[in-house]
Structures are given as C-alpha cells and as structure tokens.
C-alpha cells in the first residue's frame, strides 16, 4: 500500500494518509477548509470566521501586507507571517491592497492583525493535520 493511500476505518495515531496531506494544504489555502474536509463543521466555521475577520480588519485598518522582497529582516519575517494566511494573502497581493499608512497608529495595529491572522491559520492547518492522522479527535 502506498504511504498516501487511505485506509478504511480508524487510523492509528501518526499514520500518513491522503487526508493528512490534503487537509493542511487546503486548510492553509482557505482558513478552516481543512476542518470542513473532515466534517468538523463548527470548528472549521469558527476558525474561518476568526482568521478571515482578523485579516480583513487588518486590511480595513490600512495595515501593510509585506512582499517577498522587503529588503529588511523584519520585513521578511512579516512576509512569512503574512504568507501563512494562504489564499487571503494571494488575493490581497493580487488586488494590491494592504499598502499600509505609516502615519496612522491603527495601521500598525492592522499590520499586526494581518501577520497574526497568518500565524493563526498555520496553527489551524496543523490542527487539521493532527485530526487527519488521528492524533486528535
């Protein structure tokens, strides 16, 4: 049996299967979707609502979305955090939102909201992986 092949029934904790590969990737691209795939509807909806709300509030507060070539170490770390938001990040970059308004204090809060939304999304994707391998109910 291939390592990515699913088994019927319950899986021993830690075993790799198709869901354990797909769930974190899909969960990263669309917040909460990794839980939806595994029929954790309420958890997925709460994760999606929380992460999307934080990200959108950050954009509305005119927070900055970092690009890949910030030219500064802190900018690169900001980029890594932002990238955690997956699809939200790509859409925002494509629409050229998140330019940042450095003269506003609330824009700085917005920048942190966006970064933390990305980091929380990574935690959510890891949680989807834990569910898929049977480590978590």
């Amino acid at each position: 049996m291939s390592p990515f092949q699913s088994k019927a029934g319950s899986l021993p904790s830690g075993e790799v299967n198709t869901m354990s590969v797909l769930a974190p990737i899909v969960g990263w691209l669309v917040p909460g979707a990794g839980h939806f795939m595994q029929r954790r509807w309420i958890r997925g909806a709460l994760l999606m609502a929380s992460i999307v709300a934080m990200f959108v509030l950050g954009i509305l507060m005119q927070g900055k979305v970092y690009g890949i070539n910030g030219g500064d170490l802190l900018d690169m770390l900001g980029f890594v955090g932002d990238l955690g938001a997956g699809g939200l990040y790509f859409v925002t970059r494509a629409m050229d939102w998140g330019q940042g308004a450095i003269q506003l204090a609330s824009a700085d809060y917005g920048t942190k909201y966006i970064i933390v939304a990305g980091l929380l999304n990574v935690i959510g994707a890891v949680d989807a992986y834990d569910i898929a391998i049977g480590k978590k109910d």
Binding site: L46, A53, L60, S106, Y113, L120, I123
Partner: protein, 58 residues
C-alpha cells in the same frame, strides 16, 4: 477604520482565543474553557501592561 489601542487589543484577544481554544484542546467543553482562559489572560495582561507603562511614564 480606526480603533483605539484597547479595543484593538480586545478584538485581537477575542479572535486569537477562539483559535487557541479550538486547536489546543480536544473536546468542546475544554475548548471553551481554554478559550475563555486565554481571553482573560490577554485582557488582564493588557491592563497590567498599561498600568506599568503609566507608572514608567510618571
């Protein structure tokens, strides 16, 4: 959209606590309790830090 520092911290604490609760605990009852615990810690630490800054400023 402009928020005060405190309201921004409260909203931040609310959403972060939801994610922490869901991801760090295994059953719904523990999730709610842990989320509430995280939220109260966020808020208490925010208030404590603000008083520390007030003292430092004086």
């Amino acid at each position: 959209m402009q928020l005060s520092h405190f309201s921004a911290a409260l909203i931040f604490a609310f959403f972060a606590s939801i994610v922490f609760g869901i991801t760090q605990r295994g059953n719904p009852r523990d999730m709610v309790r842990y989320g509430a615990y995280c939220f109260s810690l966020f808020v208490l630490c925010t208030i404590a830090a603000s008083w520390v800054m007030w003292v430092v400023k004086r």
